[in-house]
Amino acid sequence: MPIIGAFWAIIRRDLLLAFRRRAEMANPLFFFVLVVTLFPLAVGAQPNLLRTMAPGVIWVSALLAALLSLDGLFRSDFDDGSLEQMLLSPHALSILVLGKIIAHWLVTGLPLLLVAPLLAVFLGLPEQAMGTLWLTLILATPLLSLIGAIGVALTVGLRRGGMLLSLLVLPLYVPVLIFASGAVDRAASGLPVDAQLNILLAMLLSALVLVPLPTAAALKMSVN
């Protein structure tokens, strides 16, 4: 079967697997909402304070939710030997990896968009920023899956890789956080956000091209 067939096959397979484990699918969503809820509890519920913090809080929580869901990207395949079979496939591992990342984003990143309006209401985010919030989520959540994939690939072979994964991935997430929450913040004040969105788009496109290869190399190392 040609490589493009394998690419779609792996996306289909991963989506099917996620569906079979659909109880787990809601976990990142719950976590996202829960973390956002913690902030008013911690800093007090003054509307002005929450409104100012809203873009940052939503985005940090999205980041943490993405981080938590990353482990599922390669864990199951690593444990049951499917990852080895992918390495042995004549097809380029980078393409298979890209397929897995796309499927992972569809299952863990995209749903965050559904919950975003609720969180905007919780924190009093101005209406005019809502569109930007959605745009940043749609541009940056795939970026989080892509960047995170490298970290997961490096740590999947470790028994307690969770904390190390955060250490590796969070510094790399910083630019995404800065531009995404910065954009929403500016939109809340009515300022133009084209520059920030364009930068996010550029980062996304670069990551689509640049991430699969080191991720595949890291997987080969982990399967060692």
Partner: protein, 253 residues
């Protein structure tokens, strides 16, 4: 690689052999130490004693003679680590792997020094021990990048695989450093504009510049000494079962 002249490639082949490198490092370290001490002395004398007092900041500015070279080294070493990572991945050179992982704690150390001295510099200037200005924040993230490399290497038991992992991580990190740097800069611009740059004329007086550059070179020699020492140790650890290590230990006994 036919475009590399034969003597150069022969030098690389010989040097990358662990026992040869070990002996070479042993010979060089004393000389490097002498040069380092001389440069350090000259730099400190020029910076702490000879250079005039700054009309704005008084004498407290003198910490830049540690802070700025340390910050430069923190970036320089990471880039070097990435280069060694590339060499290790492409040519499977064990020495490159060893130099990479030996450099990481040294780079982290310089980053830490840059952060602490930056904070010390900030106290008389801004009144607080920490400000979230662009350069300090970037340095802080760089420290995490270094800690990531060190932790990842420590977490993977098989050192050959660990070396490949940190090579990949160093390359990924080095690509991200400019991105992080510019995004943090966009995020906040409190720090005074860079006063020394390769391209334009430095905006500080030459009597302050010369000690700064002396310190920068001195720190590079320090790095060389430290990395050679650490590399020797790492080589011993990774090659414990080989002949040359056994012979070395027997000789020392």
């Amino acid at each position: 690689m036919s475009w590399i002249p034969a003597p150069v490639s022969r030098f690389f082949h010989r040097t990358s052999s662990p026992p040869y490198f070990y002996a070479l490092a042993d010979r060089f370290i004393p000389w490097l130490t002498v040069i380092f001490i001389v440069l350090l002395g000259a730099g400190l004398y020029g910076g702490l004693y000879l250079a005039p007092t700054d009309y704005q900041q008084g004498d407290s500015y003198r910490i830049i003679y540690i802070h700025v070279p340390a910050a430069w080294m923190s970036l320089f070493i990471y880039v070097l680590m990435a280069v060694m990572g590339g060499i290790a991945l492409i040519w499977r050179m064990k020495l490159a792997e060893v130099m990479l992982i030996s450099s990481a704690p040294i780079g982290a150390g310089f980053t830490f020094v840059a952060l602490v001295t930056g904070s010390l510099w900030g106290k008389p200037m801004w009144g607080t021990w920490w400000v979230w200005d662009a350069r300090l924040t970037s340095e802080l993230i760089l420290l995490f990048l270094y800690l990531g490399v060190i932790s990842l290497y420590g977490a993977i038991e098989e050192k050959r695989a660990a070396a490949r992992a940190v090579s990949i991580l160093a390359l990924v990190g080095v690509v991200n450093i400019p991105i992080i740097h510019y995004s943090v800069q966009w995020w906040n611009t409190l720090h005074q504009g860079p006063t020394v740059s390769k391209m334009d004329k430095p905006s500080i007086h030459v009597s302050m510049l010369v000690p700064l550059l002396l310190m920068a070179v001195a720190f590079k020699f320090y790095y060389l000494i430290a990395v050679l020492q650490a590399a020797k140790l790492e080589l011993l650890k990774r090659e414990t079962s080989s002949q040359w290590v056994k012979a070395l230990l027997e000789k020392q006994a």
